[in-house]
Amino acid sequence: MKIEDKKRVLREMVLHRRFEERCYQAYIERKIGGFLHLYPGQEACCNGVMEAARPGHDYVITGYRDHVHAIKCGADPKEVMAELYGKETGSSKGRGGSMHIFDVAHRFMGGYALVGGPFPLAAGMAKAIQLKGGDEIAICFLGDAANNQGTFHETMNMAALWKLPVLFVCENNLYGIGTAIDRSTAVVHQHKRVAAYNIPADECDGQDIEVVYEHARKAVDHVRSGKGPYFLELLTYRYRGHSMSDSRGYRSREEEEMWKQRDPIFILRDRLIAAGEMTMADYEALEKETDAYIENEVIRFAEESPEPRVEDLEKYVLAERETQLPWLTGKAA
């Protein structure tokens, strides 16, 4: 990665971290409802892969831990926060919530809340790309536990069979909700599982963004060059519970502390400091500046935005009726 890119990505990752931490606070204050799944600890995964891909050009889809993926693709953090607040200005107009962030203009094709649900959707987008002949790829970010769903196996088979341009990124954070991977999964190394479908796969450290980037470049090049699907496993860790209702009783504080010694933001920060590209004071200023942005712009926008109108409750269930009249009434020209 170029030095300017590293500096930019550090800023982005700090935004991603502080955004999520601010969500935590807003949830405690009951400004955010429902389920909330936070990303701290895993930032190098999304950022490393998307640095190797083309955000806004490639189609990205993921599960319910989706805020950072959306922002990385180009979604405005203000609109993502407004969505969490359930506001009309939210990225899904307040109809989706934390688990269903969408920004189709930036080709962030959504967060989905059925574990493993996005696998075939990603393959389907790749099928569409194949039919239309574009140079985009589909990228599917999911956790390790999704690989125990039938959709994983069904999709790997079809993606390989039809050589679809789809990159599967497995963010292996070692737990499926509150069950450790070795207690739920017979094959712990996830990248080995796609060998059954003849899909090339790789595994790497998911905490060091430069390592992720190098492996992701290889993966993205493979898929974009028309060689078919690829599976990249990133070894990572989520600092917080699965969602806000999780008190993390299934793992030790020592284990968490061990992973925090390999924090993706600090690894990059310390490397930039060691290279003389920034100072600790610069970093602290960056954090402050980020917090100020989140408070003064992101939170403020979410707080001040209007609620959806109750009259619009049934909007977006189906296509606007007037646009479909020829097929609804049979009076096609």
Partner: protein, 327 residues
């Protein structure tokens, strides 16, 4: 107007839509090289090739989800699920993805997919290949459900479903693919909403859909000839949304209603139509509405038991005679 079979009508709709738009594709088990279990995609593989006529693995939820994902980017997939019994496996992607994506994205994304599937009891196919499931599909927000009772509808409903920007489930019937009927020679789009008066009458309305329309028509004939009762037959080809106006108008005219369905009674089309009658025109009724439906059992294999489980035109006649105090 040509007389063609139900399967030919479906095949023709596929062919015309695929010839018109290169982004219309079809997929399902055995639909390509094998030509389709019900021949509904016969000849398409040879004409449009494997990229657009996809023989899928036996992975219903997987290929249904794949179709939904493709539709996000403008592809118009027509998915054949060989038997509606297998659609249970695909309901996650139909309901959680296709039906909800427009809403949960605040209108940014849509899944204009067509899901076709054959349901109904055929000949001794047993419990896991004979189910009717329209009741399940018609209760899902964001999904349209239509069910053709003849070749003209089979052709025109598929044409409209492919063009519509909403996901549409088309409920076909195992026993109807070889039924012959008139289909317009020119392009025809059947409305996805509404209902049709299949036979006009004054004394009682017989509501049917798909195969039960034919029981109702046969029953109306018998009631007219043998009992002097004039029955109106209303074809509810759209199960979601149901045609509230059509139901109200017919019941307001005849003041009596019988609903015939091959599905079991609980939470079904009959329950829903009666609820609509209550809401729309309760005081027009001269008698309590009645449902004719199958027994609440997994479909038995034994021929005699199977026949006993499934209603037919005689059950419709009996229900009407009972309503008129003639049985």
């Amino acid at each position: 107007m040509a007389q063609i079979m139900y399967w030919e009508a479906i095949q023709r709709a596929h062919d015309e839509e695929m010839a018109r738009d290169p982004l219309v594709i079809c997929m399902g088990e055995d639909i390509g090289v094998a030509g389709g279990t019900y021949k509904a995609t016969k000849g398409l593989y040879e004409k449009y090739g494997p990229l657009r006529v996809m023989d899928t693995p036996i992975s219903e939820n997987g290929f249904t989800g794949l179709a939904v994902g493709a539709s996000f980017l403008g592809v118009r997939p027509i998915v054949e699920i060989m038997s509606v019994n297998f659609a249970w496996l695909a309901m996650d992607q139909m309901f959680n993805s296709a039906a909800k994506v427009r809403y949960m994205s605040g209108g940014q994304l849509a899944a204009p997919c067509v899901f076709r599937s054959a349901g109904g009891a055929a000949h001794q196919l047993g419990a896991q290949h004979s189910a009717r499931m329209e009741k399940v599909f018609m209760g899902i927000a964001g999904l349209r459900v239509v069910t053709p009772s003849n070749p003209k509808q089979a052709y025109g409903l598929l044409k409209s479903a492919v063009r519509c920007d909403d996901p549409v489930f088309i409920n076909e019937h195992e026993l109807m693919y070889n039924m012959k009927g008139e289909v317009p020679d020119g392009e025809y789009f059947h409305p996805l909403e509404g209902s049709e008066i299949a036979r006009s009458g004054t004394d009682v309305t017989l509501f049917g859909y798909n195969i039960s329309v034919h029981w109702c028509l046969k029953a109306a004939e018998i009631l007219d000839k043998q009992y002097g009762i004039s029955a109106e037959v209303v074809d509810l080809y759209s199960l979601s949304p149901l045609d509230r106006d059509g139901i109200r108008k017919s019941v307001s005219k005849t003041h009596r209603a019988v609903i015939a369905e091959e599905d079991e009674a609980p939470v079904g089309v009959g329950s829903e139509v009666i609820a609509i009658i209550n809401e729309e025109c309760f005081f027009e009724l001269d008698a309590a509405p009645v449902r004719v439906h199958s027994a609440l059992v997994p479909q038995p294999y034994n021929h005699t038991l199977e026949k006993a489980a499934i209603p037919d035109h005689e059950d419709v006649v009996k229900a009407v005679l009972k309503m008129f105090g003639k049985a």
